[in-house]
């Protein structure tokens, strides 16, 4: 398949958007479950909050980078 054929595909752009939306949804659900578990069951609550914040921050940075790349691609 040549690049032009791939670019012209009507589904290609929407597939990338779908990937983003699925990732966003998965990350949200997973973060809720992870947050619930780490905060409820952790022995050291302060440490759990600290690491959960790092996890959330890292995930949001990745999502933001994905959104920017998607915007540049569109």
């Amino acid at each position: 398949m040549t690049p032009s054929l791939l670019d012209q595909s009507a589904y290609f752009g929407s597939s990338l958007l779908l990937v983003f939306l699925v990732s966003l949804l998965t990350f949200s659900i997973f973060s809720l479950m992870l947050g619930y578990h780490s905060l409820r069951y952790s022995i050291n609550k302060k440490r759990a909050i600290f690491f959960f914040s790092i996890y959330l921050g890292g995930g949001l940075v990745l999502l933001l980078a994905m959104a920017i790349t998607l915007y540049m691609l569109s």
Binding site: P3, L34, Y55, L73
Partner: protein, 187 residues
């Protein structure tokens, strides 16, 4: 189980909380690092192959942005795996109190096994250290046999400093038995 909800007896106190040895976590993290490094490496190899005039059906250089986008998605899922790994590692714990041993085995988000037995029921402790790495880093399997019919035996793999742990449990058991004997004599 929250530590506050362990409901310790008035005279009971926590002697030690033990997680698996850090080398087990490091092993898993290393496998994730391989997954992080592989896609860009494969992409670079493909670009090099194209640069040296090997005839490929697609102009890959044209799709670098698409690759970056999909790689970021990949990284997001690996990031979630890492978090899951860390949570499982830190929520798997042995809590040794002055009267009991409590074991918490986190097997997934919605699967958790909690067991405990009183030190009076302790019969025997066996430790097993297998291999060069385990010997150098001082970790191994701790197996605790109890008189309880329902609980039978507890076994935990890759616990750090198993000999020190065994000594601590035996000391706590002896101390508990001494206290109980003293209480009986005073009655």
């Amino acid at each position: 189980m929250k530590l506050e909800s362990l409901q310790l007896d008035p005279n009971e106190h926590i002697l030690k909380t033990v997680h698996r040895h850090w080398i087990m976590l490091l092993q898993r993290i290393f496998s994730l690092v391989v997954f992080v490094v592989m896609p860009p490496l494969a992409w670079i190899i493909v670009l090099i192959l194209q640069a040296v005039q090997i005839d490929l059906p697609v102009d890959f250089a044209h799709y670098t942005s698409h690759f970056i986008y999909l790689y970021l998605t990949w990284l997001l899922f690996l990031w979630m795996s890492l978090a899951h790994m860390l949570v499982n590692h830190y929520l798997d714990v042995w809590i040794i109190t002055s009267q009991r041993i409590i074991t918490i085995d986190q097997q997934g988000f919605f699967r958790r096994h909690i067991g405990s037995f009183r030190l009076e029921k302790l019969q025997d402790i066996n430790i097993e250290i297998n291999g060069i790495i385990a010997t150098f880093l001082d970790y191994g399997t701790v197996e605790v046999e109890t008189a309880s019919e329902s609980m039978g035996e507890f076994r935990a793999h890759h616990l750090p400093h198993p000999q020190a742990l065994k000594a601590l449990i035996l000391e706590a058991t002896d101390s508990l038995n001494r206290n109980q004997r003293a209480e009986l004599q005073s009655l």
